[in-house]
């Protein structure tokens, strides 16, 4: 057998494409959180902040037990760190050309419990805008059919702008309806509306807080959408002047995402079967 002299490629660590997530989803039940929202609404900051928090320890007792996308997660956190040289914490914008891409977390809350896998489906906010204007753009959102959660992010900063707030809410409503009409949003996909950058709302005081939440709920509700809608207030990376802690509102969501059970099992009350390391590493087509 000839000796191998060429370098051996290992997994890239970058975001995954749809065909690549199959090797994760076939191993074990893997919730997919489909993130949708306007450009700069905080989609990337959401999972980047989760990665950053895991660097310091745990979220709701879950610790990082691995990832196929460590490189991508580090890249998305980079501009929020002093080491980047950036004067302000920022998150790189997901480019339109990247299409739909996936970020992976493997988590565990005890070495005695099964691993929990979690995938975030991320895409440029420009796709969201296009889909609002043109239903044919929804072709890009095929993975939504398989997603456990549709999390639509509404920029709290824009909701504080009297001129823009109606547009933000109306676009979200249009997007959700388009997803339903095109049968991408399944009945067992949980619909979550996340008011992001809640620190910008919170700093205006309690009246603005309740006013903002009510404004969103007045249209994005189960009566209007004919399905359950949960509204969350989040501030993944609050401004330095804010009194809100990092990951405000995100920890609860994170736990819900991680601990969700497949729709088929919900009625039975059974836990999904976990995976063990032998399954992970002995399976052909793994991470190599």
């Amino acid at each position: 057998m000839p000796e191998i002299t060429e370098p051996i490629r290992v997994h890239s660590g970058n975001t995954l494409k749809r065909e690549e997530i199959v090797r994760i989803t076939r191993r074990a039940y893997t919730p997919i959180v489909f993130l949708a929202g306007d450009v700069k609404s905080g989609k990337t900051t959401l999972f980047a902040s989760i990665h950053d928090q895991l660097l310091s320890g745990a979220i709701r007792e879950y610790r990082c037990a691995g990832s196929e996308t460590f490189m991508a997660l580090e890249e998305r956190c980079f501009e929020s760190r002093v080491a980047s040289g950036s004067p302000e914490a920022d998150t790189p914008r997901t480019p339109l050309a990247a299409g739909q891409e996936y970020l992976h977390f493997r988590l565990r809350n005890s070495p005695n419990n099964p691993f929990k896998e979690l995938l975030f489906a991320d895409m440029s906010g420009e796709f969201y805008e296009r889909a609002v204007h043109d239903a044919s753009e929804l072709a890009e959102f095929g993975i939504l059919k398989r997603s456990d959660f549709l999390a639509v992010l509404l920029d709290g900063g824009k909701l504080m702008n009297r001129g823009k707030r109606h547009i933000v809410r109306d676009e979200a409503l249009t997007f959700i309806r388009r997803c339903e009409e095109s049968r991408l949003l399944q009945s067992d996909t949980a619909l979550q509306v996340l008011i992001s950058k809640w620190d910008l709302v919170s700093e205006r005081g309690p009246d603005e807080e309740s006013g903002c939440a009510e404004f969103v709920k007045s249209r994005l509700n189960s009566e209007t959408l004919k399905r359950q809608v949960d509204v969350f207030r989040i501030a993944a990376r609050p401004n330095p002047s804010s009194k809100l802690p990092a990951l405000y509102g995100v920890e609860l969501l994170f736990q819900e995402w991680v601990e969700t059970v497949p729709a088929l099992l919900r009625s039975t009350g059974r836990e999904p079967s976990g995976i063990n390391a032998q399954m992970v590493f002995n399976q052909a087509g793994g991470w190599r």
């Binding site: 051996i8 660590g13 310091s56 002093v82 302000e88 914490a89 793994g286």
Partner: protein, 306 residues
């Protein structure tokens, strides 16, 4: 004990070469009782001799230039089991390239498949949790500092973190335009976790024994005399600690605090050179270790304790 191999993993300046120099000296000279010793000296010792001489003279090593410097030790345990240990010295820059370029040399891939264990080297000074801009601004606000020349809260907590004001300042001043991502600037803990999960993916026998060597342990002990290696890792390198703890199917871990040189070459060189028994410079703290027995972690990761 037959033929076994260990992978020594570490990013640049993690202390691998100092460890190998001290280990070689101890195996050869047997100034104190240790768990391993040379059965026979290595045939080729040019590289090792240069390392040991620099270690004895307390001068900085020439950086490891080769991607993989193959070392073979013929060792003997106290109960006279003998065998050949392959213990390559792999430069920290090579591991940086593995992370950034996502390529392994075929020799390294072969080693990963056959390795019996891993020695994972950590430099406390460069294993820090990343310092966020938000955290910095919060501290600036509290201290009413406007120039941003401050330390991270983590950096104050122990010797494990960057606390060079000028360094932080220069990094801020680098900002002239768009921020450019460089994989080498990723968090050290994440790089190491990624290397470990790739090693486990290649390994033929799981779980791998991983001996985490916290280098320059003397610096930590100066600041925290009661410091314990496992507690230190949990407190200051929590991501890697959690990653190892949450993967017992892949890794069985022990944490060692090792001061292979015994102090700072410049500050303590005179004192260290004055010791008649250079082995006494070495300080090792961890499970089943003699105070100066730098061979103990190697013996454990190679499963020679069974």
């Amino acid at each position: 004990m037959s033929s076994r191999s260990v992978v020594a993993v570490g990013l640049p300046n993690a202390g691998k070469s100092t460890f190998i120099a001290a280990l070689t000296y101890v195996l050869k000279n047997q100034e104190v009782t240790t768990q391993l010793r040379f059965k026979k000296l290595p045939e080729e010792m040019t590289y090792l001799t240069a390392l040991v001489n620099d270690w004895l003279d307390c001068v900085p090593f020439e950086r490891t230039k080769h991607a993989l410097h193959r070392l073979e030790f013929s060792l003997q345990t106290a109960d006279n089991a003998v065998g050949v240990i392959t213990f390559p010295d792999i430069s920290g820059e090579t591991f940086e390239q593995h992370w950034a370029l996502r390529e392994w040399e075929p020799d390294f891939a072969k080693l990963a498949e056959t390795a019996n264990g891993v020695l994972l080297f950590l430099n406390p000074k460069s294993s820090e949790k990343p310092f966020s801009i938000v955290a910095q601004k919060k501290i600036e606000a509290v201290l009413d500092l406007s120039d941003g020349m401050i330390d991270s809260p983590e950096s104050d907590a122990s010797a494990s973190h960057t606390n060079d004001k000028d360094e932080v300042g220069s990094r801020l001043n680098e900002k002239q335009g768009a921020v450019i991502w460089d994989p080498k600037k990723a968090t050290s803990q994440v790089k190491l976790a990624d290397i470990l999960q790739m090693l486990a993916n290649r390994a033929s026998n799981l779980p791998l024994r991983v001996g985490v060597i916290v280098s320059a342990w003397d610096i930590i002990k100066e600041k925290e005399p009661a410091a314990q290696p496992d507690h230190w890792l949990a407190d200051y390198v929590p991501f890697l600690d959690g990653f190892l703890k949450m993967n017992p199917e892949m890794f069985v871990t022990r944490i060692y605090g090792v001061s292979a040189q015994g102090g700072d070459n410049e500050r303590d060189g005179e004192k260290l050179r004055a010791l008649d028994m250079p082995t006494l410079r070495i300080k090792v703290q961890g499970q089943d270790c003699g105070e100066h027995d730098i061979t103990a972690p190697l013996k454990w990761v190679l499963r020679l304790d069974a």
